[in-house]
């Protein structure tokens, strides 16, 4: 079995396993079948993909518009290795609104507060590689 990553516009858009060698400029031979490569950028012969693991100091806050949860995004690469040197942009999203924060030492943070009772799903991603989600409840 031969494993391939399909590259389009410098991005991995597919990972496949084939029985035969296929000659195609868009196919890169891989050592392993690794679906984590999906959506990775392919730059100068290397795959690059970063995602975040989200955490918060409070999963539940008061809906008074004052109480706040600190949302922390820790950056990992596609191999699930924490990237403490990462200083790129992290995109946070809530209900279609986006905030872009520059990571410092592989960590980006935002605050969240609300005056409305409900459940809120905060998302984050880096260059659309993989989206992470975190739920905060406001009472």
């Amino acid at each position: 079995m031969i494993y391939y990553a399909q590259i389009e516009n410098n991005k991995c858009v597919g990972v496949s396993q084939l029985n035969e060698v296929v000659e195609d400029n868009s196919l890169m031979i891989l050592e392993n079948y690794d679906t984590r490569l999906l959506n990775c950028d392919y730059i100068n012969g290397n795959f690059e993909g970063y995602y975040t693991k989200l955490s918060t100091d409070k999963n539940t806050i008061l809906s008074d518009g004052i109480d706040k949860a600190i949302i922390v995004a820790e950056v990992y690469n596609y191999l699930d290795e924490q990237q403490l040197e990462f200083t790129g942009e992290v995109v946070f999203e809530l209900d279609g609104e986006q905030i872009i924060k520059q990571a410092v030492d592989g960590i980006a943070t935002i605050e969240f507060s609300t005056s409305l009772v409900g459940e809120y799903m905060i998302k984050s991603n880096i260059n659309n590689y993989r989206t992470s989600e975190l739920k905060v409840v406001a009472q």
Partner: protein, 49 residues
């Protein structure tokens, strides 16, 4: 629901329609025009659900 972006993060509050609806609801003596506005807002919400 209105999501505002601040320098530190997200702040969620009531949107303009919610605020208007509440302001009319809390009036003890609303005008006919305000009642019509309130009905329109309620109908709009119902149609959206």
């Amino acid at each position: 629901m209105k999501v505002s972006k601040t320098s530190k993060g997200f702040l969620v509050g009531k949107d303009e329609k919610q605020l208007k609806r509440e302001s009319i609801k809390n009036k003890s003596n609303p005008t006919n025009k305000q009642i019509v506005e309130l009905l329109e807002l309620i109908l709009e919400k119902l149609e959206g659900e």
